[in-house]
Every structure is written in C-alpha cells, then in structure tokens.
C-alpha cells in the first residue's frame, strides 16, 4: 500500500510514454526500419549486383558506424520535432480534454506532473535514442557479418567486431553527450512548457510565431538603428547551441570546458525559472 515517490514518478513516466507512444516509439522505430532497409538494400546492391568488394576502409565496424550515424541523424531530427510538439502541447491538450478530470482525481501534484515532462525530454528521449541506436548497431553487425562472410572475409565476422565493441560504445557516447547537452536546451524546454501551460489556443504557433514576429520587428527597427534585443538574444542562444553541437551525435565527443560553465549555469537558471512559472500556472489556472 505504501507508494513511494519513485513509484509515482515511474507511473507518470509510463503514462507519458504510453500517451505519446506514436511520436516517441512507433514513428522513430518505423523510420529506423526504413533506414535499415535502405542501408541493407544499398549493401546488397553494392556487393551482389555491382559485385564490387568494399574498399579496405570499409571494415565491419566502420560500415556499421556509418549505418548507425545515418540513423542517428535522422532520429535527432525526428525526436526534435516529436519533442517540440510534445512540449508545446502536453500542458495545453489536457486542459482542453475532460481526461484531465481523471488525472486530477489522482494524488499527483502539478510539480511532479510538469517535472516528469522535463524528465521525458531530458532523459527518456535520449534513452530511447540510445536503445534504437544499439538495436540498429546490432542489426548492422549481424547483417554486416553475413555480408563479409559472403565475401569470404573472415577477419570481419561478428566476433572480432563484438570484441572490439566500438559500434556499441559510440551510441553510448552519443547518449552521454546528449544528456549533457540537454542542460543547455533547458531554456527551450521551459519556454515550450510555459507556452503550453499558458496558451489558450494554438500553442505551437505562439511558441514559434511570437519570437519570429519579435525578431522581424527587431530587424525592422535595426534599419533605423534601434533594437529590442531579440535578434541578439536568439543569436546568443544559437551560439551556445553551436558550442555544444558536438553533443548531438555529430561525431565529435563533447568535452566540457570552463568557458561552457556560464552558459550552462544560465541555461539551468533560465530553464528552471520557466519551468517554475509553468508549474505556478498549472496550480493557479482553473479552466476545467
């Protein structure tokens, strides 16, 4: 009978993943399957129809990594759209649905509810990406081994590749980098949640339309040497992202440097404030 906070968190996370299973699991899996089929088809074509052996640089590890990176790039885009849609609508949709009456009849605070959405964005999504990448790597290793065996290149079969294990370590590295990178994304997460909690209509349009409109106004003011600072702010935040671009699976391991500290602290602070504002709005707006 004794429910712990961990049980509540776990039930809430399960609820989030179940509710958004199409955008978090099914669509990414389907697209990964498409990438896999495309890569396999390409390999078949290269090996059996063109009957050309792969170059010496194409080891099993190397080929599988290429395979996995191609999938990661696609998945990063898919999850960016899925997360943007999720964060900007999750606190809006349930206000517009009677289902909120059921969830509000359960002893779950709004703080826990909102924080679990942050956890979904910062931990669950990178973890799902890791799982998909590992599965894709495994398929790459197994299918690649079969190809290399077909080419009578026994040095590239599955066991040496597994003992090297690089193909399974790189997704993990990407995962850890993504986890770190999400702290820099916290203001964006908080901003979308706040819009989601605040908007009376079209949260996604407001989330992107308002900054774009302000930036356009700033641009026009810039023509007469005036500014409201929106373009500068967006540029600054863009530069922070550029600083940590390697954390998003772009093949360069992210290494924390002291120059990252202030942007990191500012991101956490601004993100925390925006998330707190979302929680406050959830507790103080009674639309049902």
């Amino acid at each position: 009978m004794k429910n712990t906070l961990i049980m509540k968190c776990s039930a809430q996370l399960k609820r989030e993943v179940l509710e958004y299973r199409w955008s978090f699991i099914y669509i990414p899996l389907f697209l990964s399957l498409l990438v896999t089929i495309f890569c396999l088809g390409f390999s078949f074509y290269w090996l059996f129809i063109r009957k050309e052996a792969l170059g010496s640089e194409h080891t099993l590890n190397g080929t599988t990594l290429e395979f996995m990176y191609a999938n990661t790039s696609l998945m990063l885009m898919v999850y960016f759209f899925a997360l943007t849609n999720y964060l900007s609508s999750c606190l809006y949709d349930d206000r517009k649905s009677k289902q909120i009456l059921f969830f509000r009849s359960m002893p779950v605070s709004e703080s826990l509810n909102v924080m679990m959405k942050v956890v979904v964005a910062m931990i669950v999504i990178p973890t799902l990406l890791l799982l998909i990448n590992e599965v894709v790597s495994l398929i790459g290793v197994v299918v690649g081994s079969i190809f290399f065996v077909a080419l009578n290149d026994s040095s590239q079969i599955v066991f040496p590749a597994l003992s090297d294990a690089n193909v399974f370590v790189v997704p993990l590295q990407i995962y850890l980098d993504n986890l770190q990178g999400m702290f820099f994304v916290l203001p964006f997460i908080g901003y979308l949640l706040l819009i989601s909690a605040w908007a009376k209509r079209f949260p996604m349009v407001i989330a992107f339309g308002v900054p774009m409109l302000l930036a356009f106004i700033d641009f026009l003011l810039g023509q007469v040497n005036l500014t409201i600072g929106v373009i500068d702010l967006l540029t600054l935040y863009g530069l922070w992202w550029a600083e940590i671009r390697s954390t998003f699976g772009l093949r360069v391991v992210f290494e924390f440097e002291w120059q990252h500290l202030m942007p990191l602290l500012k991101s956490v602070l601004i993100g925390g404030l925006l998330i707190s504002a979302s929680i406050w709005l959830r507790n103080n707006r009674c639309e049902i």
Binding site: M1, N3, M7, Q12, E19, F102, R104, P107, S109
Partner: protein, 286 residues
C-alpha cells in the same frame, strides 16, 4: 465528531458575477448527501472548491484541510468522478489499473479486479472501445477500490441508460458505502438518488435554499391533494407550491402540521423532484 466538509461564508466571483454567495453548511461523516440545483446554480463551482480545483473565498475545510493548499494530500483521501467518460481513451484497461496502482497509495488492485470480474470489461481492451456504460463501470471500479473517506460524484450517470444507472447506485451502496465513508452527489436525476440519500442540499443562484436530513424533509414537507371545495381554505395556509391536477389540486406545504392539512384532503410525503421544483419556484417568487 469532526465534519468531513465545513463551509463558512464561502463565496466565489467570476468578475462581477457572484456564483456562490456566503454559503454555510457542514457534512458529517457517514452521510450520503445530494447537492441538487438547476444548471448554473453553483454546484460545480462548489465541488471544484471542495476538491481544491479552484480557489474560493471564505472558510472551506475538507477533512480538516484547506483543499487548495493541501490538494495532493487531500486527494489521497477524497475520490471523485466528475462527469462520465473522462477516462483516458488511449489507455488499455490493465494500463489504467497499473497507473492508479502506481500513483495512489490507498488503491487496492485486488478489489478492482474483483469488481471488474462481474462486468464484461476485458483487461486488454482499450478504453476507447468500451461503451459509455462500461466506461462508467470501469471508472467506478477504480474509484471504489480506493479506500477514501469522501467520494464526490458530479453527474456520475449522465447519459447512461436506466439499467446502468440503477446498477451504478446499487454497486455504490452495496459494495462501497459504509458508515465511515461520506458521499456527496450532484445530479439532475433527482428521483434516482432519492432512496439513496441521507441528507439533502438544494442550491440555487449561488445560495443554499434547503439543507436538511431526509427524515426532516419527510416531516417538514407535506403534499396535500384537495378538491375545488377546499381549495381556498388550503390556499389560505400558504402553500409553497400549487398545481392543478385531474379532479383537483396538489399543494406542497412546508412546516405546516400534517393533522391540520389532512382535514382538507389527502396528505402524502412529496417526492424530492416536487420539493425541488417548489423550492426553486419559491425563490423565484420571493
């Protein structure tokens, strides 16, 4: 004994419009109370206040707590069904049971499975595939499996057919209610809950117009059926409500001695629906 709900001078304004006007009442443990009023009377606003879903002015305590400030703790001991068909339709039956088990410390999965055994609901069904009646059965099974001290039902059987409605109240009384639990029900279907209630609150235009136990209601209100010859004599006693029926008139009196009235015609205890109409009309006329 500490009141389960205690309201003193509770008010609520939306802009300049007062939806609740200095409401005062107390509900003791073990009661089944009907909160009855026409649309826009303030019932749902009052329930929102009780459940901590909206702030109200004045003093409102539920199980000794401020519902707005202590909502999370309070909801562990207060269950509610607000309207029908509010379950998340994208979940499967076993998933919603898992969810409630995860978040509610007073939920018994065993009880819930026992209740569901007597229905046609399958564990693997998605909620969207259930009929409205089955959805309410599932919701009630979930809620009855929570060991709460107060159950709030807001129009729980709206849109259900008569069989499901009867079954709903029968389950509630036989499998859930005991003298430790308090139930607060709002509904328009007054006749259906008449037999179930221990207490009654009529609310109209944000004010309580009647707050009484069912025993008191039976003593306080009398329906008199009179013929034309006794009409004027009966009217002179100031009926709360008057209507023509085939071959005579029916009048409802409040607080008049039954013996005096029975000299003028046949006296009975009026139904809740008739008392409700009479009280609402009285407020309109006053």
């Amino acid at each position: 004994m500490e009141a389960v709900i205690h309201a003193q001078n509770v008010s609520k304004h939306y802009g300049k419009e007062a939806v609740l006007k200095n409401i005062n009442f107390s509900i003791e443990p073990g009661k089944i109370v009907g909160l009855i009023g026409p649309n826009g009377a303030g019932k749902t606003t009052l329930l929102k206040g009780i459940l901590g879903l909206a702030p109200v002015d004045g003093e409102l305590s539920v199980l000794g707590m401020n519902p707005k400030k202590n909502r999370e703790v309070l909801i562990e001991q207060v269950s509610f069904i607000a309207d029908t068909a509010v379950l998340p339709t994208w979940m499967k039956v076993h998933q919603i049971i898992d969810y409630v088990k995860g978040v509610h410390p007073r939920f018994s999965e065993e009880k819930c499975l026992h209740f569901l055994k007597n229905t046609k609901i399958k564990m693997k069904s998605t909620i969207s595939s259930l009929s409205k009646g089955m959805m309410v059965q599932l919701h009630l099974s979930l809620i009855m499996s929570i060991d709460s001290r107060l159950l709030v039902l807001d129009e729980p059987t709206l849109g259900l057919d008569i069989l499901y409605r009867k079954q709903f109240y029968s389950l509630l009384l036989n499998d859930y209610y005991d003298n430790q639990k308090t139930i607060l029900i709002t509904t328009h279907q007054v006749e259906e809950i008449e037999e179930v209630l221990t207490d009654l609150i009529f609310i109209n235009e944000g004010q309580i117009v009647l707050n009484s136990s069912m025993e008191e209601v039976a003593e306080r209100f009398v329906e008199l059926e009179v013929e034309q010859a006794n009409k004027d004599a009966a009217m002179s006693l100031g009926p709360l409500h008057f209507r023509s029926v085939l071959g005579g008139f029916r009048m409802i009196f409040e607080g008049k001695p039954k013996a005096a009235l029975s000299e003028l015609g046949k006296t009975t205890t009026p139904g809740l629906a008739d008392i409700f109409v009479a009280k609402m009309q009285q407020q309109v006329n006053s």
